[in-house]
Subunit: 203 residues, 2 copies
Amino acid sequence: MTKKDTETEEVIKQAAKHLFFVEGRFNATTQEIADAAGVNRTLLNYYFRSRNKLFELVLKDARFHFKKRMRFVFSLDLDFRSKMEQFIDVYLNEAITYPYLETYMVAQLNQQLIKHEIPLEHEVEVREDMDKFFKVIESEMEKGTIEKMAPIQFVWNLLSLLSFPIVMKPIYKRVMDLDDKAYFQLLEERKKIIMSMIFKKQV
Amino acid sequence: MTKKDTETEEVIKQAAKHLFFVEGRFNATTQEIADAAGVNRTLLNYYFRSRNKLFELVLKDARFHFKKRMRFVFSLDLDFRSKMEQFIDVYLNEAITYPYLETYMVAQLNQQLIKHEIPLEHEVEVREDMDKFFKVIESEMEKGTIEKMAPIQFVWNLLSLLSFPIVMKPIYKRVMDLDDKAYFQLLEERKKIIMSMIFKKQV
DNA sequence: ATGATGTTTGACATTTTTGTTAAACATAGC
DNA sequence: GCTATGTTTAACAAAAATGTCAAACATCAT
């Protein structure tokens, strides 16, 4: 295995990632991916056998990335409030670099579900992680730092407030006639707003 | 023009709509659409000339629908709070029947932007609508019913809290092992939660 | 019943996209 | 320099998807 080996393979994977998750071009052709990577199209077959295998690999990577992101919130030895602050920060930055990651995963999962190709895999693991997080949330609700509700509702609140403006970026940049800097500024402002929304208002 | 004319045309459009917006199959082939509509594939060409034209038409319809949905909030002669209540109700019901509508529109718009095929069209109109809504929001902020922030942030809060659980439905149904009824129940609960989140907490 | 009109169909042509293969190429070890 | 190894390329084959067309079909007015 020479140096070039992993290089080209990686270049292709990165190009695909960019097309899918940054540009949202979910049905990019092999030619488009090859062009974006600056390599011969047949190299996709050489390294990944088929278009599908490449797709699956990139998706698997994305899943792993996302899970890592989700787990980050637990890894820190901080009080709940600071953890949430950290999480929001990490999540927003990730989402800014890969705005279409979540949409892509949902689209993929959905199509697999329709075709009844049900990918179980780390399902159990995810559920365990979520249950753990639910426990934390419930204890915070007891403490009174956050409003009482079904834990999943809290998770949805948190993730939706973060994710929506990222996914909808092209629309809102356009309609509101903003440049990237202005948009980024709005997202910065947003961090505080989200914090104040998910925590109970101090009376 | 016989009865069958508009019938088949409509059947095809509905089938396409269903594939795109309900199942999330954004890159469905003409054959798949024809099968879903229960008609011969060539009829798509007969009625819509090309696959692309059909896509454009359905997207235009979707835009119109979405705009109507957005305008609904203004059409009622109610106080702000009740208007929001109505809006949430209508939006959630719409989103339940067409969960992929927004995602589809974003994906489409994004791809058009990348290819520099910039569809201006009713842009101005949308902006005017939004400005009007911004004015209302600002006046509510003055009154103190909602927290002070950039108006777009309020809009994002409202829409994200509504839209996310719909778009992510396949993932969460799966991970949390819920059936449609249970999921619907969570969405019902959600209406109140969203209301309490976007309005200032009574002290 | 006939013909005019619009609809539906299957056969075919074209285009687009993917996958394969053999030869050319590069490079490291001998 | 030569060979063994893995990499890259272009030419080709195969498959998938779209679009066209003429003939078959249905329906309605005359």
